[in-house]
């Protein structure tokens, strides 16, 4: 037994040495987009109360303009970051920093209302901000552990080819402003693109139950701390809505019926022409984000006219 263990441990140590070389052989970006997770978490922890907290993916960081709330008592914290993090992660990350009196707008991407996030995105985020692993739920942790070898494979390829593990490095950590809104695109021309119009499930096949359960979990946390939490549908291209109108109707009906978060921006409220999107994602241009946020302000704070 001892001889076997000695040989096995020596062999494993050898492989781990190679693993370390692979790990450090892969170029690391200090300004990686995923590292913004640290800044957002710190802002949520340190921003003075009461706060208005936006929860969602990148459509949230693009789609709300915190400056609109600049003359109110609320300090704005935009937690919007990356759709791939998934709804369970997003709501847990936000819930961990909630305080009494906070006003929380949960606005996940549509895909997260019937599907999951991306394991690759989550792993990238954990690599750049290991502390954020605490926001994973059990199922996601299971999935990520099961897929851990893939990350090692990506690292190996990255080290051998001296390339980044995340080839889509359009955005960086410093792309956000002090409130957490995405700001790097402001004043820049739109990126020409062809919008992807597919991707919505048929109305009959829509299953929003897991997402509704997450929204209700968030509603419970909000009740516990005394925060006011609401739901806003994410920005949606009009042309996509035309194709998936039945599914959109059904999705909204499911959310309204199942979720205990009040819907403050309907799908109808969130429709925008393609010209109001910055790129292929659900990323509004600055002016559209401002007008959307003004609309939100009128709903949430009707007494404080601007």
């Amino acid at each position: 037994m001892r001889g076997f263990l000695l040989r096995a441990l020596t062999f494993v140590a050898l492989q781990m040495l190679i693993g370390v070389a692979v790990w450090f052989g892969c170029p690391r970006q200090s300004d990686h987009y995923a590292a913004a997770s640290i800044d957002k978490r710190q802002r949520l922890a340190s921003a003075p109360s009461p706060r208005i907290v936006f929860v969602g993916g990148s459509s949230t960081s693009f789609g709300f303009d915190s400056r609109v709330f600049g003359d109110t008592k609320y300090t704005s914290v935009n937690m919007g970051h990356n759709r791939g993090l998934g709804l369970p992660f997003m709501v847990r990350q936000a819930a961990a920093g909630l305080r009494q009196g906070d006003l929380v707008i949960v606005s996940p991407e549509y895909e997260l209302l019937w599907g999951e996030g991306s394991d690759r995105t989550l792993i990238t985020h954990i690599e750049h901000d290991p502390a954020c692993a605490r926001y994973l739920n059990f199922e996601t942790t299971q999935r990520l552990m099961d897929g851990g070898l893939i990350w090692l494979a990506l690292k190996l390829r990255c080290a051998l080819h001296n390339s980044a593990t995340d080839p889509v490095l359009l955005f960086t950590r410093s792309s956000f402003d002090a409130s957490g809104d995405f700001a790097a695109h402001r004043g820049k021309p739109r990126r020409p693109h062809t919008a992807a119009l597919g991707g919505w499930p048929e109305a009959d096949a829509l299953n929003a139950q897991p997402a509704i359960a997450e929204l209700n979990w968030m509603a419970d946390r909000c009740d516990e701390v005394g925060a006011r939490c609401v739901f806003a549908f994410a920005p949606l291209r009009e042309e996509r809505h035309q194709i998936a109108a039945d599914s959109a109707r059904r999705l909204e009906a499911l959310i309204r019926a199942g979720s205990r978060l009040a819907v403050v921006l309907s799908i109808e409220d969130s429709l925008h022409p393609g010209s109001e999107f910055f790129d292929i994602g659900a990323h509004l241009v600055e002016s559209a984000a401002t007008s959307r946020t003004q609309q939100l302000r009128r709903v949430l704070l009707p007494e404080s006219r601007r």
């Binding site: 037994m1 690759r120 893939i150 494979a153 190996l156 390829r157």
Partner: protein, 488 residues
């Protein structure tokens, strides 16, 4: 928690340390039982109830059968024993029936009634097929039948029996073990054998390479292009690719299972013995998924009468056995067709008695090359098996026929082969890997697995293991598919 996951690496390491840290067999078995249920519950904890139910019934039936064995022979005793066996069969096949076959039979009942002008609307069930249910129900059922036949004594320890049924290395996709082979291993003390454990690790590594480097990369072509609308030459290439994908996927799984079991001092049966080096379809079936083929032989083919009632009846028995085996793989007509094709192809050799005359110990014969005749026989066998795979992989019999039609009609047209140009880069990358895999298996075909390299100095073995592991990691696809046999 699949074998090719980081979770399993960690899980197996922790269990290995805990297992050998305890000395008593009872504690080891209890530990194996607990960790096996954790392993199984990792998919869905509710599945644990099913395997516990199946184990409990068969444990109880086994005890009952052994008690009645001591009773006075007579019709009453026989009736009791038959009732007990029927309970086991009803429980295990009932579980399979509900979770796997209910919708298939309900749909076909509706179709059949509609053809007679009767309208039926039985409700369908929205059930998830529990992983491994086809495997462990067959294992427990086989064990009970052996106790009934008096070939095996009933297991009297609940822990031993439950640990035997749920033993995590072979729980979800076999090998389907026989009670007579595996149960005694739970009932005797196990001593750590360094040679066995080291060989187990090598076998598991080779299984990992088969799955991660070979099967999963072949899957990327098959999953995207094995559809009836693809051009004939692409479909022909996809058929061959699928043949190797399913082999390396399942053989890889079995090698990891057998290798892992060896780490714990258990010996599982060989499940694949290089089936593509077979020279007849009958030989292929003695080398492919051996634990299932022998299960069907012993518990279906032989009880049907085997070869004892004349050649015509034997032919029918062979066909029936293969058809039922097809249905075991999936509740769909294309699986039934797959079984029937293989049954018809294996029938002449088996009925003529030639299958027993053919040597099976060393696949492809003892020589360094199979010779022209042997090579042609292997090629012919492989081609027939591939026709079967078309039905196995297709989503319906109609789709399979469309694929076969396209292959036959379009592959003769030289111009049609230009459709492969779109896949040139992929094929250039995958073909050397696949050829290396086949060559390694041919060269090492006298051994239970490829990495039996006792004559090599340690440093060169370690260099090879390191190269294989990191090589497999390098070519690992970003979204590797699950083991194919998990769906059964």
């Amino acid at each position: 928690m699949t074998f090719n996951s980081l979770t399993f690496f960690v899980f197996a390491t922790v269990v290995f340390a805990a297992y050998w840290a305890v000395r008593s067999r009872r504690t080891q078995n209890m530990l194996l039982l607990v960790v096996s249920y954790v392993f199984y519950g990792w998919w869905d904890w509710r599945f644990c109830g099913l395997i516990a139910a199946s184990s409990a019934v068969d444990f109880g039936v086994g005890l009952w059968l052994s008690r009645t064995q001591d009773e006075q022979p007579g019709p009453r005793r026989q009736r009791h024993r038959r009732t007990a066996l029927a309970l086991s069969i009803a429980t295990n096949l009932g579980l399979l029936g509900v979770f796997k076959y209910y919708n298939f039979f309900a749909d076909n009942l509706v179709l059949g009634a509609a053809s007679l002008g009767v309208s039926l609307s039985p409700s369908t069930l929205q059930l998830v097929l529990p992983v491994g249910i086809s495997f462990y129900t067959f294992q427990t059922l086989g064990t009970t039948i052996d106790v009934y036949r008096g070939r095996l004594g009933a297991c009297r320890s609940l822990v031993d029996y439950f640990a035997y049924v749920s033993f995590f290395p072979q729980l979800v996709a076999g090998p389907i073990e026989r009670g007579a082979r595996l149960l005694p291993q739970f009932q005797r003390d196990r001593r750590f054998d360094a040679g066995l454990a080291a060989d187990g690790l090598c076998q598991a590594l080779w299984g990992f390479v088969q799955k991660a480097a070979l099967a999963d990369n072949l899957a990327t072509l098959v999953n995207d292009y094995y559809i009836p609308t693809s051009p004939g030459p692409v479909l022909a290439v996809c058929t061959v690719a699928f043949a190797f994908q399913i082999y390396w996927d399942f053989a890889g799984y079995s090698n990891i299972a057998i290798g892992t079991a060896r780490l714990f001092g258990f010996s599982l049966s060989r499940n694949f013995a290089l089936p593509y080096f077979s020279r007849s379809v009958a030989e292929f079936w003695r080398r492919w998924h051996i634990s299932l083929s022998t299960w069907f032989r012993d518990y279906v083919y032989v009880p049907l009468g085997g070869n004892k009632r004349g050649r015509a009846r034997q032919a029918i028995n062979i066909l029936l056995t293969f058809v039922i085996s097809g249905l075991w793989h999936g509740a769909a007509w294309h699986f039934v067709a797959w079984g029937a094709i293989n049954g018809l192809a294996a029938m002449p050799t088996i009925v003529s008695g030639r299958s027993r005359a053919q040597p099976v110990d060393t696949p492809g014969g003892e020589g360094s090359s199979p010779g022209l005749r042997g090579a042609l026989q292997m090629l012919a066998t492989f081609s027939i098996v591939c026709v079967g795979w078309v039905f196995f992989r297709a989503t319906s019999v109609e789709a399979a026929l469309q694929i076969l039609t396209r292959i036959v009609t379009e592959c003769g047209d030289i111009a049609a082969w230009s459709s492969l140009a779109a896949h040139e880069q992929y094929l250039r990358a995958i073909m050397p890997l696949a050829v290396l895999g086949v060559m390694a298996e041919w060269l090492q075909r006298r051994h239970p697995h490829v990495l039996v390299l006792d004559a090599w100095p340690r440093w060169s073995r370690w260099a090879l293991y390191t190269m294989l592991f990191w090589g497999a990691m390098y070519v690992l696809p970003e979204t590797p598919p699950e083991f194919i046999y998990f769906q059964f």
